[in-house]
Symmetry: C2
């Protein structure tokens, strides 16, 4: 009865829809199509119950029943309009059974979200009983996402809300975070005029890598909380599980620390361009509800010009060859006040960001500035420090030790390692080039989304990357715990964040979730295009990335 | 009293604002700042009146009084928050006079909009009398745009609607074409809590080139009418005056011709992805109200695959070396039916598009397909035609003659000329590489916006182009009537059209409007950034293009 399929096939009766991104580890789909009973369908927790799960139920009911039908642009590529009569014919021949619920079993009450969290799940869609089983609630969230992607709107019965649905979608799109009160009414209307299908399927799924991240940069341009939440939604749809929040940089300090209040008061672009601690807590909670960790980055000792606007003493004065001051450089590693400030910042951050990890940067440090400063040179002589690399080592070791004291493990950019700094065993090294020296590593270098081109399907290159093919022994390869797509913010703000990040980050998401052998870009393209259309249906304006075509949500 | 300025200076008292893009031909600005009397200010037509003008008055009243303050991201680059106290101090020292109206004189009742339209204007902002004078109403539109850019909101008195204004702006942004009923109320509220300033200035302005265009491509992806209207707004703000509408292409035929109804019925992506003739007329009227011509393009004989879905006989069958049919190629130039269909299409289009010009494409024709077709070879032999280039010449000459019969001059891509086709004297050649052979020419090759990169400020390269430096004698250089920025649609649809087109098209706009000596990219950058913030204030999400920074409308 079941057919083991490497890629999910398009199913007759669907206005497309039903292909899953990222591709599950093993999928068996049957030929049968089941109707979701729109009047009565619900998710049903068996045994285990929690707010995380019940809120996810609500979210996925909305995604399934309140979004326009899924229709892949790829399928209609090259221009032929959909041959709906053939689909309708196929539909007529299949036997429908109504399913009224999906039973959800969660094995453990452990709700900790970290590198070790078990995200696996099994999903069986069959008549009369459909079940989702997972060890943790976060595995259940992944399974619900898969279920929502397997569901679609029946072709033909959906005519009434075609254009109307589109208008509704647009409203939905721009009011994603102020829409709650209309939901009930919409659901009822849809129920009466549409039929929802779901494939018969049996899936066992688990991620290949534990850390599947996206870096956003709020130091170069401010991103409003709504843009961060939109991004978290899109990440959850692609089963990405870490938002690496590059909070601050030379250009601005939007993180409104209360412990060091002048950092944002003087370092943000304006008072409107800041995140209060409550804003941050809200983003963290929104992410956790979607099984996404937030790893904050406070990049030091470089990339800190904005720190100096409120606290000039934190920075090193740089001098030119004739001894004239030329400006401010990295944090001053020789003053105790620097470490006092960092401690207050990190201790506070540990109360706001619950994740076990904090990213401490460590890249692109202007060592020449330290070298040019007479007071620093004097300090080094007093402390028998031969060169500024040793000074950097000392700084990093002190900062990393502060993080540890605040109860946090840390991630650092590769330069820290290159500069000979000793790291703790639980450190993670964020690679720009090659694998590290016995530490667990994250890969980002091939996935700098911000470097892409307007007219280039660069998602294909991202997709083709094999994380373990970046050199190193098999032991070193096993130290790769995942990777991150990076969207640096020099040319990105709320106007173009979604369009420039998506759908391209989806390519990285499948690379990090799906099996190593899933790498045929031609086979992936229709699913990739369909998932982009799905994002539009769900209200996010991901750009067209696979050449000419359309989605019904255009 | 007046200071002749090559670039407009930022004025004390303004929350920035007041720099004009594109830069006028001659500008003299004074140090004095005038208050717009928010209760009573209005535009006053003296003598000449028309609907075109009175509608423009309404539009510009809204733009001036209903948009958040202008604040250049560039000025605050590098991070220091605005030093508003210094501005306020400077303001305190300047003497304010309230102005209650701008008198608008238009010299001629001729409202024809074409290559010869006089777009010059003079604008004098002074106390007690401010005047705008222009030969044509379209010149007056350009002057109103300049006036609106010179105006700004006074720093400090605008606090009350800071965040509120932003929220309002967002709504405004996403409902640009369904917002009318809220206007009155908003204006009144603003009037009571803000002060609007305008610089004392004396400007004489006229464009350097008569044809300042933007190409949009609705063949590769459909663009909804609202996206076209948004684009037309942005064009008017930058004084661009031609929308080159690349309507149809291989991938789809969204133009719902009634004369040849199967073109769109079978050739569009879907029935929802079409423009009715009324849709088109609405876009044309919207453009004309902003002084923008619409030049439609029906690309022939290549790029016509979508035509063949409804009318297969129009296309040439292509064959491989063993004589097997391989697919459909360009229009069949040997069948009279081809010309009959083109005539019906062009005659109908002449009734929908009032512009004197139609663009007939002529690029990238697959001559090898014609050569492979036995029937075409036989026809060529019968007509003593030596090669397929001669066949192409014949086709082009017949099509161009049909356009002439329909009362239209034509523009063609350069390949047509390269293929030796004789053109009429009023033809315009759309250059991809070098100047032509005695015909008037348009330049596009350096301005393919769609080829840009996400993280590249490629507007600087666009800005640096000198149109007359593309070879040719001075006579040939004088034949350059302008140029077009091109946004080809392979990777662009409604999700990213605005962000990928703007603000970069503004660089081309200034190149084509302002004097030849205005080419210092560093001097242009703050104005360029300010105009981008102005676009945000007016509700269009142009992307950040000058590196890190912010607008208050972020």
């Amino acid at each position: 009865m079941f057919l083991l399929a490497a890629a999910l096939l398009l199913l007759p009766g669907f206005a497309q829809g039903g292909a899953v991104w990222p591709l599950p580890l093993t999928v068996a789909t049957g030929e049968k199509v089941l109707h979701l009973d729109v009047e009565r369908f619900h998710f049903k927790a068996i045994g285990y119950e929690s707010e995380l799960l019940s809120e996810a139920f609500k979210r996925y009911e909305e995604l399934i029943f309140d979004t326009p039908s899924h229709l892949a642009e790829e399928a209609l590529r090259g221009g032929a309009p959909a041959n709906t009569s053939a689909l309708a014919g196929a539909l007529g021949r299949s036997r429908h059974t109504r399913i009224k619920r999906l039973r959800v079993y969660v094995g453990s009450y452990d709700q900790s979200l970290n590198l070790q969290t078990d995200e696996s799940y099994t999903l069986s869609i069959a008549s009369p009983t459909s079940t989702l089983q997972a060890t943790t609630v976060f595995g259940a969230l992944r399974g619900l996402e898969t279920f929502s992607q397997l569901a679609g709107v029946e072709e033909g019965v959906d005519e009434e809300h075609g254009q109307q649905g589109l208008a509704k979608h647009k409203k939905h799109k721009h009011k994603r975070h102020e829409k709650k009160k209309h939901k009930k009414k919409k659901r009822r209307r849809r129920r009466s005029d549409s039929a929802f299908l779901v494939r018969v399927a049996s899936i066992w799924d688990a991620p290949r890598f534990a850390h599947r991240g996206l870096l956003l940069d709020t130091g170069r341009h401010f991103l409003p909380v709504s843009a961060l939440k939109d991004t978290l939604d899109a990440m959850a749809w692609a089963k990405l599980n870490v938002l690496h929040w590059h909070l601050v940089d030379d250009q601005s300090f939007p993180y409104a620390s209360e412990a060091l209040s002048r950092l944002a008061a003087a370092g943000a672009f304006s008072p409107a361009h800041t995140y209060s601690l409550d804003d941050v807590r809200g983003v963290v909670a929104y992410a956790r509800a979607r099984g996404i960790r937030i790893v904050p980055e406070f990049d030091t000792p470089g990339h800190t010009a904005s720190w100096g606007r409120g606290y000039p003493d934190l920075l090193t004065d740089c001098y030119n060859e004739s001894g004239a001051r030329t400006g401010a450089g990295p944090l001053d590693p020789t003053r105790n006040g620097t470490y006092g400030a960092l401690w207050r910042l990190l201790r506070e951050a540990a109360g706001v960001f619950p994740d076990a990890y904090v990213h401490l940067g460590g890249d692109e440090v202007d060592l020449a500035c330290w070298e040019s400063n007479p007071a620093i040179k004097q300090w080094m002589a007093q402390h028998n420090m031969r060169n500024v690399r040793a000074l950097l080592s000392m700084f990093e070791e002190r900062v990393l030790s502060l993080a540890a004291t605040a109860g946090r493990s840390y991630i650092v950019w590769q330069e820290v390692l290159d500069n000979g700094v000793r790291l703790r065993n639980d450190a993670v090294v964020h690679l720009r080039r090659v694998t590290g020296k016995g530490y667990r590593t994250l890969l980002s270098s091939p996935w700098y989304l911000n470097l892409g081109g307007f007219a280039t399907p660069d998602w294909e290159a991202y997709y083709g990357v094999e994380p373990t093919a970046f050199g190193g022994s098999s032991e070193q390869q096993q130290l790769i715990i995942g990777g991150e797509a990076c969207m640096w913010g020099e040319f990105v703000d709320a106007t173009n964040l979604i369009q420039q990040t998506w759908p391209r980050a989806n390519a990285v998401a499948e690379r990090l979730w799906s099996g190593k052998d899933i790498r045929d870009v031609d086979a992936a393209r229709p699913r990739y295009a369909e998932h982009r259309c799905r994002m539009l249906a769900r209200g996010l304006g991901a750009r067209p990335d696979t050449g000419p075509g359309f989605c019904p949500q255009d």
